[in-house]
């Protein structure tokens, strides 16, 4: 549908905010090959972010928005945390309701949309921090996967509670000294990607956001698989530079240092057999081949 829903009545054009005019003129709703390379080239779907200067979460959020395959029919569900400061600036419908209930809200939302729009695809994407996904909301995260709810869960893993000031979280590394873990965290970083695989996710990826091409591919695949096959999960390392004592220019290096061989954010990807079969059906190269052989 592209920009049909957002276009401005000419009578009111001049009184609309300039950001809205830009969204209509240069936004990428309906663009088939949208991706991270549009960032800086066209109007982004995040108007501005209100995170700390140099926060890797801000670029991660911009990549996610730039890589949604169909933002014109995507509804995002957030949770309380740093991301909830950005969501009010995001030009797709988005819901904040409570802390930790994001996968429950998304379950109800996706079911309602599938019922109300049986002939349309409405993508639901959850974006929440590691406290929301793994600690307070773990029950609902896992239950939505067990139930095979057809939406994508993205976790911005900064290994602590950033928005409340740097408290220990389940995804924090063992031994890390933080607020509420004054003698060092006593247990290992929760391995949610492994749990996701056995909980029914059809696509699981873990990475930093240092390589935008990789992020783009993961986001697209996760959302497409969620549409047709079942739940998908992406865990992105978005270090909280503030709380780990880094400068604002050091976020990228921190991510690079954490993604090498055997490091905790070494790239990992899992695709279920069902999802692989589905991806083959939509792979343009394979489609071409089929056409030739036929």
């Amino acid at each position: 549908m592209g920009k049909e829903k957002i276009k401005i009545n000419p009578e009111f054009y001049d009184i609309m905010p300039v950001e809205y005019q830009e969204l209509v003129e240069e936004g990428t709703y309906g663009k088939e090959d949208r991706g991270w390379k549009d960032v800086g080239e066209s109007k982004e779907l995040i108007e501005e972010h209100s995170l700390c200067a140099g926060c890797p979460e801000s670029i991660a959020f911009r990549y996610v928005l730039a890589c949604l395959p169909a933002p014109e029919d995507t509804i995002m569900v957030g949770s309380t945390g740093c991301t909830s400061l950005v969501f009010p600036h995001v030009a797709v419908h988005n819901i904040h309701s409570l802390f930790g209930n994001q996968n429950a809200v998304a379950s109800g939302l996706k079911r309602a949309l599938s019922y109300r729009f049986p002939d349309k695809v409405k993508d639901v994407v959850v974006l929440a921090g590691d406290g929301a996904t793994v600690d307070i909301g773990l029950d609902m995260t896992l239950q939505s996967w067990f139930r095979q709810e057809k939406f994508t869960t993205i976790c911005f893993d900064n290994e602590l509670y950033a928005n409340t000031g740097g408290q220990s979280s389940g995804l924090m590394q063992k031994g890390f000294v933080a607020k509420m873990a004054p003698a060092g965290k006593k247990f290992d970083k929760v391995n949610l990607p492994e749990i996701a695989k056995v909980s029914g996710c059809h696509y699981v990826a873990k990475m930093t956001v240092s390589k935008p091409n990789r992020v783009e591919k993961a986001i697209r695949q996760a959302i497409l698989i969620a549409r047709e096959v079942g739940p998908t999960y992406i865990q992105l390392y978005t270090p909280c530079i503030l709380e780990i004592g880094k400068q604002m220019m050091e976020g990228l290096q921190e991510m690079r240092d954490s993604e090498g061989p055997n490091k905790r954010f070494e790239f990992e990807e899992y695709i279920s057999e069902e999802a692989k079969a589905y991806l083959e059906t939509i792979d343009p190269k394979k489609k071409k081949k089929k056409a030739i052989t036929a």
Binding site: S97, N101, G108, K110, R111, A112, S114, Y115, Q143
Partner: protein, 399 residues
């Protein structure tokens, strides 16, 4: 799409969409003998519900499971069992944000587990229908009737109606959707009944044909945009979520809370029309009144009969809507009363508090009798209480 324009057409199940007033006031009704749980099934069958999410807890489990049968039969669009009540109410929120008419049920500890969702539903203007079949929430474990949980949700901002009988329950469920979904209200509604007393006992209920349904919910008759990307998205959230520390954000938050409370008050005009008033009076010019809600009123009515046999005249005021509270109606109805008894099925006496804070000369209010934890309240208990107080106050009343 205007819901009214759908009147005369048929829904997916093949039921005829009729004017709600026709269904409520004119359509022929048949007498049935059924439990409160079965009443839920019959009401939801006629309610064009899009999504219902269930979770087991006594005494609402049976009703919640029967809604599942309606889903299989095609009367309800989508249905599943959630993982706990907090999640269920969040799932209901998601479905309602997505523009669906949503129904769910809960009881006792489940209500409290879900609690965080209720003010969020209100602030997000989600017109979810919550049926509360109330029971004890205390420890040691009790599954018995107790109305304490109504008192605990009283200030969440939801509409709260309290049905006395199976018949009222049927009507409140259907009418509740209509009031909650009015654009100038658009708030969640809790329709409460006393667990077991209404949910599990059989009673006469007059119900119209299941060939008729109320019009579907129209999510575009909504003071907030439905979260379905069918309307323009730009720099906005569903709720006024301003976390910056400045005067404008404080004012936004404060005025939104005032607006949701005002929306609750605005429900009066719709409710009065559909329920025939927020209270029901019987002989309310008597000097001795029994004022309460739910099945405590039914027991009060029996006590009134027993006392009449002894020549003691008693009047009854039944409160149908706990929120909005019928302040003016209660003041008027109690203006001639010298003593006001408030029988309640809970230890706290929240209804007595409400009435005390509403009427002048509130020393007239006797907060009781109370029973709690599942104890029954035979009419004789009310009679004894009234006679005990009368003996003490004889001079005041008769002198």
């Amino acid at each position: 799409m205007d819901s009214k324009s759908l009147i005369g057409t048929y829904n997916k199940k093949g039921q005829k969409i009729v004017d709600p007033d026709y269904l409520f006031f004119e359509a022929p009704r048949e007498r049935h003998f059924m439990t409160g749980s079965e009443v839920v099934r019959e009401a939801i069958k006629r309610a064009n519900v899009d999504v219902s999410i269930a979770y087991p807890i006594t005494p609402q489990s049976e009703a919640a499971a029967m809604v599942g049968d309606l889903y299989v039969e095609g009367y309800v669009g989508e249905y599943f069992r959630g993982e706990n009540e907090f999640a269920v109410m969040s799932e209901c929120a998601g479905a309602s944000f997505g523009g669906a008419r949503v129904f769910t049920t809960t009881s006792g500890p489940g209500t409290l587990r879900a609690y965080e969702n209720f003010p969020m539903w209100v602030g997000s203007r989600l017109p979810i229908m919550l049926n509360m079949m109330v029971r004890g929430v205390n420890s040691p474990l009790s599954i018995q009737p107790d109305t304490l949980e109504i008192g605990l949700i009283i200030d969440t901002g939801m509409l709260i109606w309290h049905a006395e009988s199976a018949q009222e329950f049927f009507d409140f469920l259907l009418k509740g959707f209509l009031v909650a979904e009015e654009p100038d209200v658009h708030l969640p509604i809790a329709v409460c009944i006393d667990g077991f007393f209404v949910s599990h006992t059989k009673d006469d209920v007059l119900i119209p044909s299941a060939d008729f349904v109320i019009p579907p919910y129209n999510p575009y008759r909504n003071p907030m945009p439905a979260m379905d990307m069918e309307s323009p998205p730009v720099r906005m959230m569903r709720d006024p979520f301003v976390m910056k520390s400045n005067y404008i954000s404080y004012a936004t938050q404060a005025s939104w809370q005032q607006e949701t409370r005002a929306a609750c008050e605005r429900s009066r005009k719709h409710t009065i029309r559909l329920l025939g008033g927020l209270i029901e009076e019987d002989n309310s010019d008597a000097e001795i009144l029994i004022v309460s809600s739910g099945t405590a009123v039914a027991q009060g009515r029996e006590a009134k009969r027993l006392l009449a046999e002894e020549g003691i005249k008693v009047g009854i005021v039944k409160i149908k809507t706990i929120r909005p509270f019928p302040y003016e109606e209660v003041r008027q109805a109690t203006k001639n009363a010298k003593i006001i008894f408030v029988p309640e099925f809970n230890v706290a006496g929240w209804m007595a508090r409400e009435i005390k804070s509403t009427i002048p000369d509130n020393h007239r209010v006797i907060a009781g009798p109370h029973v709690a934890g599942g104890m029954t309240m035979p009419p004789e208990v009310i009679v004894t209480e009234i006679k005990k107080v009368l003996a003490k106050k004889k001079e005041t009343v008769h002198g």
